[in-house]
């Protein structure tokens, strides 16, 4: 491999990792605070991507699709939390897994019924179609740069919200002791509802950003869900910093795996996970004790 090829793969890996972080951070926060393992998180990613395709095809603008699609996802996230997830807070993992697994099946068929089974391409915004030369042989598409920067900005915003606002303070308090937060007079129900909705929107936004790069296809939500689980497991459940580290590690491992080990590339990510778990069973930044 030449240096520029390595550089391009590294950039691709970082870009994929940042995108993964957006999905995984929602997953890990929802688990950390609400205590719910949400399999339907990937479905929100898929719905986001399909909304991007559906609206962009009709209006010709991905930006417009995001502006119209995100409010839809706010509604979807809110309804799912109120109608289903909120009944799970006091239940065991098995119930959580099964209910959200049921949601995945329902959302998959909903996608088939609304958008069909075909694979769809989503055009990039015209201003972002070019690419930047890297060395003599390689180049990097502008849209990937845009995605990376956008993800990075959202990640920083997320950090700011969690560390610097009252809402974020409640989220952190809720993560360490939800009962105490409730005793202090904060409406935990509203907090959980808002948080779950935010996670759903974040996942959908990632789907929208990824749509022009990956195309839109049935089952895309499950693929990203499972990789996000790997990210969360590597990083340590409930840890946002861990999710960031895990996402970059997985993104880079996956990208190089595809180049170096083409036959078994999909298994590389899981091998990395197994290696991490061998030495740190609770993930890179996971809390050691705390059983939920």
């Amino acid at each position: 491999m030449t240096t520029s090829l390595v550089a391009v793969q590294l950039l691709n890996g970082v870009e994929y990792g940042l995108l993964l972080f957006l999905v995984a951070s929602g997953l890990t926060i929802i688990f950390g605070v609400l205590g719910v393992l949400n399999f339907a998180h990937g479905s929100f990613y898929m719905l986001g991507a399909y909304l991007a395709y559906f609206i962009a095809e009709r209006t010709g603008s991905l930006l417009f699709a995001a502006l119209l699609g995100l409010p839809v996802m706010v509604l979807v996230g809110f309804l799912v939390e109120r109608l289903a997830i909120s009944r799970l807070y006091a239940r065991d993992h098995l119930s959580q897994v099964l209910l959200t697994y049921g949601l995945v099946l329902v959302f998959n068929d909903l996608q088939r019924a609304l958008f069909g089974n075909e694979v769809h391409g989503v055009p990039m915004p015209r201003a972002l179609t070019g690419s930047v030369a890297l060395g003599e042989m390689q180049s990097w598409p502008v849209y990937r740069i845009f995605t990376s920067v956008a993800c990075l900005c959202i990640a920083l915003l997320l950090r700011q919200v969690i560390l610097g606002t009252r809402f974020g303070m409640r989220v952190r308090a809720g993560a360490s002791n939800a009962e105490m937060v409730e005793a202090l007079g904060i409406d935990v129900r509203k907090l959980f509802s808002a948080l779950f909705t935010a996670g759903a929107v974040l996942a959908a936004l990632s789907g929208m950003l990824a749509a022009p790069l990956t195309t839109v296809y049935p089952g895309m939500g499950e693929g990203i869900l499972i990789v996000s689980f790997v990210v969360v497991v590597i990083g340590g459940i409930g840890s946002i910093k861990g999710a960031f580290a895990g996402a970059l590690l997985v993104g880079i491992a996956d990208t190089f795996g595809k180049v170096l080990l083409p036959g078994v590339s999909s298994a590389v990510v899981y091998a990395v996970m197994a290696a991490v778990l061998l030495f740190r069973p609770r993930g890179l930044l996971g809390q050691p004790a705390l059983q939920r």
Partner: protein
Amino acid sequence: MNASRRTRVALLVFAVALALVPLSGDRFWVQFAAKMMIAALFAMSLDLLVGYAGIVSLAHAAFFGLGAYLLAGLTNGAGLVSPLATFPLALAGTAVAALVIGFLSVRTSGVYLVMITLAFTQMLYFLFGEAPGLGGSDGLYVAQRPRLSAFGTTLLDLGNGRTAYFFIWAALVAIYLLLARTVRAPFGRVLAGIRINEARMRTLGYRTRRYKIAAFVAAGALAGLAGVLDATLYGFVNPAIFGWRQSGLVLVTVLLGGKGTLYGPALGAVLLGVLEHFGEKWTAYWNALIGAVAIATVLALPGGLAGLLRGSRG
């Protein structure tokens, strides 16, 4: 937990009725019933983990798939036909895989374990779907169905639909009796103790992790047996049987039937099988139907069908 007298009578009637299915002579329904029995065996094996040891694993489809692929591999690759050779080897192979995955997974618990087992399942799914020589996404045919012959005469030909049916029936009955004994034996009691309060069991001096790994391996090997029987019945394996959705589906089966009862999950397997069969004809969106059943079970029927039969809902 102990099957009551009424349940025992019902199970006996059910087992006899199943044994009579081949008399109908309808090949479709015989194969359908065989498929249900394999699903029941598969769900019962998971019940040992979920219902008794309290371990929620999403790796169960992986062991089913490994069993099926090992049978295909031993037959096609090594030319082994005798079930006396292939079945124990396939089960041993599955048990070893369960030991490795169990060793890595059981160090954690709860949600971690769910995610880790899911990831391992997915890894195997990709390996068997992509790796060269394993048939890729098209899968593999089992070149020869298991057949036992001695001195030139065939004693047992599992390529024969009816023979395979009775073999599967016998396996189901035997495994039910074995599991029912196991969960009443000290081993099963320790598993139940771990589910209810692991710390206390540890304080009592039990090496709980070893027990959990043992349960994981036993359940995995039995899932492998279900896979072996599946490959025997259909003569065909494909990587879709590894998918995490299959793992999810068997969990739904266990909860729908009623976890911790053994016969409940078998009941769940029959119900889901029937639902799938008629749902497929009725609507293209029968997967959503299964999803709705899963959601409804969690919200309205946490004790499953067995709980309903016993007159309690939890």
